[in-house]
Symmetry: C2
Subunit: 397 residues, 2 copies
């Protein structure tokens, strides 16, 4: 099960169609997920500037990266070796030379400096300085915003991509069960995180895991009032609740999942919140199908939980799949008011109705695929608050 | 052992001194490591736009972030709660609203919009779009480049920071030994990576580990010709060499380390390369002391290995310590030709003389602290190529 050159070439064709629609002739890709999507390139080198250049009338993209990463591009991408252009190491984190000066020089050398150049304006790996140096180096280019141009193509997955995400789901189910299985009074948070990491990476006997784009998020106790804390080396206390948000990852494709656990009997307010959130989540899963808009899912959620008086201010979910740190989300469609994206088969979302109140919170989520007639979740684990009593957990295994 | 408010206040004072030197009145910090350094804020929320604002005549910085992360800022930072300003969720990954529009509005409201505003132009988390929106929203501000302003302050560590890095070193020694101990013919790469992750996060009985800013890098076989590949689920073969580059992390402070292993008897060329690199590394460790320049270390390296005919094109090391993905390096001083930074006590570097040739490579590195009279490495493990014979490894344990 691997992605052949044909799949990459189809992606290039789709990218060029979008370029034509946007009036872009030369596309500069700095998002590592988009670089991987179009070239297969996979390495932890995105901490230095690097780029993939798609030119409207060239068959293959050009990869520009640090010299020592060129053999990595040879090993992982489908590109001809002559399309890999290394820059010397004195461009790395220097205050006198910038890698975008090198990129501008290459574009001049190959006669692409007077064209309509698309750049990913709001991508982590395209800094303000990158844009400033390119503008200085390419005074005759016309710059256009190409933010999310490739991300929107990624929205609908191929069957191979779905298979990757199913493998990621097998991993996340195991990791979630291992994490929940271990959480108990007196156990250190870091030991639970370590167990989860081990399962995420070792994967199954049939296939290994890749590193997820976000580490396990494990707020506990009062810190469940906020979603993005990681872990400490504190020990869990009786009565603590713990939110687990984590993903399985296979060949950079993710399947995220969130669940909430309580050590011992939960408060009434938390149990009530669990019921409300899971009811809302289930109502959404029942109505998701091709042809509806993302905002209709949010409407269903809102109407379902209305009677509880709880209002969720933040978005309910987002498109996800292939990615690198710091995010597994694709930054395209969001499940929220005003998002008119129409669902189509093989779109994949993380539906995550988390509620964070002043002193406590609850999360239960599902990663899902839109099917021909509805939707299916990638994982299948019970959604309600898990209650751990001593060494036993109820309503889970 | 924790950082008190006094240490944060000293950091703010130093930051304001640099601001005066650079003619900056309002400093916008988007680097998550710099945000943590000045405020203590720690959460995996840097995948959305967020910021710390240091104003020349205000005692405390202002934190601006996503609404749901405000409780995380309350839990982890030393800032007064009234200095935490949340933005609504419809600013998140939206094509109509940008978080920097919100930031510009706040700066106007508090009368800071007509001042000299410093921005971290070449930071991952300050995109081209961030700068464009700020310029639109603050037409009367004078923008100045504040890239690395805080990073340069981070270069010299306090005694508490050194203690954190020593704990990180205890973790990386264990993780390296566990990884090397497990590498053998027939073992899957992902299972070794999983074991390393487990040790990195579980830490020791006395203290747990934090997630390193870079995952374990584990190229094997011919892929040792390049440094930044991660792992696959392939099984190691007899004769394979494996490079391990990984860090221990404690409260976001890193201690990185690289070693190389061969399964069975190594080739003569690899054994020879190991000897050359370790000789060069040792020569550098012998001469590092306060008062010399970074480029002198590179000169020592170059002269020591000159006779071998091997030339290292890439830099020999870099300042490191506190950080978040995607890099544990601080992006300030580099150990390379032309870097005039003068060493001072409690500067900390990763000295990593990796050599990557066409079909093979070798890495041995040390994280080190400049002392009053010389330097000391954080970890203490043998540096030569580790030869694994069956279940036994020689010259290591």
């Amino acid at each position: 099960m691997s992605l052949g050159t044909t799949e990459y070439q189809k992606r290039i064709v789709k990218t060029k169609q979008r370029m034509v629609e946007k009036g872009i002739e030369v596309l500069l890709i700095t998002d590592p997920a988009n670089m991987n999507y179009l070239s297969g390139y996979d390495g932890w080198s995105f901490y230095v500037h690097q780029m993939l250049i798609v030119i409207d009338d060239e068959d293959q993209p050009i990869w520009i990266g640090r010299n020592q990463d060129t053999n990595g591009a040879k090993a992982t991408s489908w590109l001809y070796h002559e399309n890999l252009i290394p820059y010397p190491d004195d461009y790395v984190q220097s205050d006198t030379k910038h890698p975008m000066d090198f990129v501008a020089d290459i574009l001049k050398q190959i006669g692409q400096d007077k064209r309509a150049v698309g750049v990913e304006m709001d991508n982590y790996y395209f800094t303000a300085k990158c844009y400033e140096q390119l503008r200085k180096g390419l005074p005759n280019a016309e710059f256009k915003d190409a933010t999310l141009l490739v991300n929107w193509i990624r929205l609908i997955k191929s069957d191979t991509e779905i298979q990757y995400m199913k493998r990621a789901a097998t991993i996340v189910e195991k990791a979630m069960m291992d994490g929940i299985g271990m959480i108990n009074e007196g156990v250190r948070e870091c030991d639970v995180a370590a167990k989860i990491f081990h399962t995420q990476i070792t994967g199954t006997k049939e296939f290994g895991g890749d590193y997820p784009a976000i580490v396990p998020l494990l707020p506990s106790g009062e810190k469940t009032s906020t979603p993005h804390l990681t872990w400490t080396d504190d020990r869990y206390k009786k009565g603590d609740s713990v939110i687990l948000e984590l993903a399985g990852c296979y060949k950079r494709y993710h399947s995220p999942l969130a669940r909430t656990v309580n050590i011992g009997q939960p408060s009434e307010r938390l149990q009530s919140l669990s019921g409300i959130v899971v009811e809302g989540l289930n109502a959404c899963l029942d109505m998701i199908k091709p042809g509806i808009a993302c905002e209709e899912i949010e409407e269903t959620w809102r109407k379902t939980i209305h009677k509880s008086g709880i209002v969720k201010e933040s978005r309910l979910g987002y498109a996800m799949g292939l990615n690198y740190p710091p995010d597994w989300g694709e930054h395209t469609a969001s499940i929220r008011k005003g998002d008119k994206t129409i669902l189509q088969p093989n779109m994949t979302f993380h539906l995550i109705p988390g509620i964070w109140l002043d002193q406590y919170g609850f999360e239960a989520s599902e990663a899902l695929r839109v099917t021909a007639t509805g939707c299916e979740t990638f994982a299948s684990l019970p959604r309600q608050l898990v209650i751990k009593e001593g060494a036993l957990e109820t309503n889970f295994n």
